[in-house]
């Protein structure tokens, strides 16, 4: 009987495709918008993910998120290093600076200055060159997306608005009137600000930056062997009165800022809610109409000895099949869209939570519409089959 119930669903082509379209479109909207939201949020803490060596991040207590740099006095580094249990502590500079490109154009860049000695904080995946180039004078490393896009240079210098080529190793930029030579190109995770990131040494970075008494953006800390990271975090915070985060805490602090201080979650929330409503409006209504159309057959089945429970089971099966197919199709299209559009064009990150959320939404739509449909089946009087 289950096969017949499924054939009834598939056989009503117009309604079946309507239900499928409604459910898959709802899934697509929910999953895609949620994936873009998660993708955007994950970009806000890309720097933390790019620096896995650090157990702890020490910042000014007023700093609200990764890009909200509030420089500290350089003495903060010594204070942190003096805390018992610190294996090593290195400085990190982070700031937006205007770069003058070889073509003469200007571009805002995110400059990251890493510890001169250890180079901790430099991206691990070098596409061209080696991190050791930073030991050469005036050298910088840029990331590949920036090299291909915003730092790209016109093929014909006489036509600056014409076709462009990626900027290459050996070419020079100017940062705050100072020469910076590209020594390497690295692969990094996209950032929320979506401006080219330039890596150099800490001392060179503060040379590029406008003169300031406070230049230390963050301190990266590694716990000494055998020292508890959480205990060390609390100890540093207590002894230095600075903010100290584990990487996860720092990432969540950043996400929380964007979630609570911007309209981003509301915008995506509205889109996700619309997807849900589309699912309810189209798929729910179609499924209800499908059941109504088949009510006379259910009535005949009831007359022929089908219990109400048996008929409800068939309606539930039809709803479940439509739900699984709609969900699968919607997630499939979402994944294809996510894979097809390059990561630097679309912030897309489908974590395992997103299919679960989409599935929960589809289950709600299907269960709700099935319950409405089932109500009609329960109320169905089998004697109605004799009423023509």
């Amino acid at each position: 009987m289950r096969t017949i119930a499924i054939k009834m669903l598939f056989g009503d082509t117009a309604k079946f495709y309507g239900i499928l379209l409604g459910l898959s479109f709802a899934t697509l909207l929910i999953a895609q918008q949620a994936s873009i939201f998660v993708g955007l949020m994950s970009r806000t803490y890309a720097l933390i993910e790019e620096t896995p060596q650090a157990d702890l991040w020490v910042t000014d207590p007023t700093m609200q998120f990764v890009d909200d740099t509030k420089p500290m006095q350089v003495t903060a580094l010594q204070r942190v290093r003096s805390v018992d249990g610190v294996g090593w502590a290195v400085p990190l500079f982070k700031g937006l600076l205007v770069a003058k490109l070889p073509s003469g154009a200007r571009q805002i860049c995110d400059v990251v200055g890493v510890d001169d000695a250890s180079l901790i904080g430099v991206p691990a995946r070098m596409i061209k060159g080696d991190v050791s180039v930073l030991r050469k004078p005036d050298t910088i490393i840029i990331e590949t997306r920036g090299a291909r896009s915003r730092l790209a240079q016109p093929i014909n210098p006489a036509n600056p608005t014409g076709p462009k080529r990626p900027i290459e190793i050996g070419e020079e930029l100017e940062l705050n009137e100072r020469r910076a030579v590209i020594g390497g190109i690295a692969e990094t995770k996209p950032t929320f600000q979506n401006v080219p990131t330039i890596y150099t040494t800490y001392s060179r970075a503060i040379g590029f930056a406008p003169a300031n008494r406070r230049t230390l953006s963050m301190i990266l800390v590694k716990a000494a062997p055998g020292v508890s990271v959480t205990e060390l975090r609390d100890r540093i915070a207590r002894e230095t009165e600075l903010a100290v985060y584990t990487p996860d805490d720092f990432a969540w602090t950043t996400i929380t800022y964007w979630m609570t201080q911007t309209g981003i979650p509301i915008n995506f929330g509205i889109a996700i809610a619309l997807g849900f409503l589309v699912g309810v409006a189209i798929a729910g209504q179609m499924f209800y109409n499908f059941t109504l159309d088949n009510l006379k057959y259910f009535g005949a089945m009831k007359a022929m000895g089908a219990t109400t429970g048996r008929l409800l089971g068939l309606v539930a099966l039809q709803g479940a099949v439509a739900g699984v197919l709609g969900l699968g199709l919607g997630l499939g299209v979402t994944s294809i869209v996510g894979l097809a559009i390059p990561g630097d064009k679309l912030a897309f990150k489908m974590t395992w939570h997103i299919p679960v959320i989409a599935a929960a939404a589809v289950i709600f739509i299907v269960v709700a519409s099935s319950l409405f449909s089932m109500r009609r089946v329960v109320q169905l009087d089998p004697s109605e089959v004799f009423q023509g």
């Binding site: 009987m1 017949i4 007359a303 219990t307 004799f386």
Partner: protein, 249 residues
């Protein structure tokens, strides 16, 4: 308990729908006896209570008052669930509009009553195929209902009604959607396939051309069985009525 001689006994059966001003007395004391092996036609004007009576006999509705025994059971005394199970085991239905599921083959349509009772699929389909052969549709098993003529669809409905081997077959206007010749063939088929001593067939009809297939005709009017006649008597009465009407005009 031994099987009663009559398969159906109705004694002063009443049925009322609605309350107050909207109350309709559909049955006002129906008395009727139908024997095993008999085909009984229920005839009468629209609104006389035919459909209500077969619904009660088939266990689709419950009587309000009176005594009722159908195949030795009073279906109105059973719970909803028990009546559903009783119907599935004992009653076959042939509907005016066939009620065949359009999205599945006629083989699956015929197997539906068995599958609803959790019968093994293979066996249900085998039995359905055998019934389709008996109604003359061998070779068309995988056809969808909408590819068949009205007469062929009613043959499928007959096969579906008989697939569970019911002892009571209830036919609601089985020829009303068919032309005269096809109606005769369908009734002949019903008569042929249901000719068994342990089975009873109730046919509701307005079609005088199929009276002769019935063993007896029960005439209903205003919620009561006014009298029971033979088909020949019923046709004679009908001719008399038509003659009287012609004279009046």
């Amino acid at each position: 308990m031994s099987e009663p001689a009559n398969s159906i006994v109705c004694n002063e059966v009443f049925k009322t729908f609605g309350v107050g001003d909207s109350m309709v007395r559909a049955l006002r004391g129906v008395n009727l006896e139908v024997r095993f092996g008999e085909m009984m036609a229920l005839v009468g004007p629209s609104g006389c209570g035919k459909t209500t009576l077969i619904s009660i006999l088939a266990g689709l509705l419950q009587r309000d008052e009176g005594e009722l025994a159908v195949l030795g059971t009073d279906p109105s005394a059973l719970s909803n669930h028990e009546r559903t199970v009783w119907r599935g085991a004992n009653v076959g239905f042939i509907f005016q509009q066939f009620n065949l599921i359009p999205q599945v083959s006629i083989l699956e349509n015929v197997a539906v009553p068995l599958l609803l009772r959790h019968h093994p699929k293979r066996d249900a389909l085998d039995r359905a195929a055998k019934l389709l052969e008996e109604v003359g549709l061998k070779g068309r098993e995988l056809t969808r209902p909408n590819k068949l003529s009205g007469g062929q669809q009613q043959r499928v409905a007959i096969a579906r009604a008989l697939v569970t081997g019911p002892r009571l077959l209830v036919c609601d206007e089985p020829t009303s959607a068919l032309d005269g010749a096809t109606g005769q063939k369908i009734m002949g088929l019903i008569r042929e396939l249901t000719a068994a001593a342990e089975r009873v067939v109730i046919v509701v009809t307005h079609d005088e051309r199929i009276y002769h297939f019935a063993d007896r005709i029960a005439h209903l009017d205003d919620g009561r069985v006014t009298h029971v006649s033979t088909p020949a008597e019923a046709l004679a009465e009908s001719a008399q009525r038509m003659g009287d009407a012609a004279k009046r005009h």
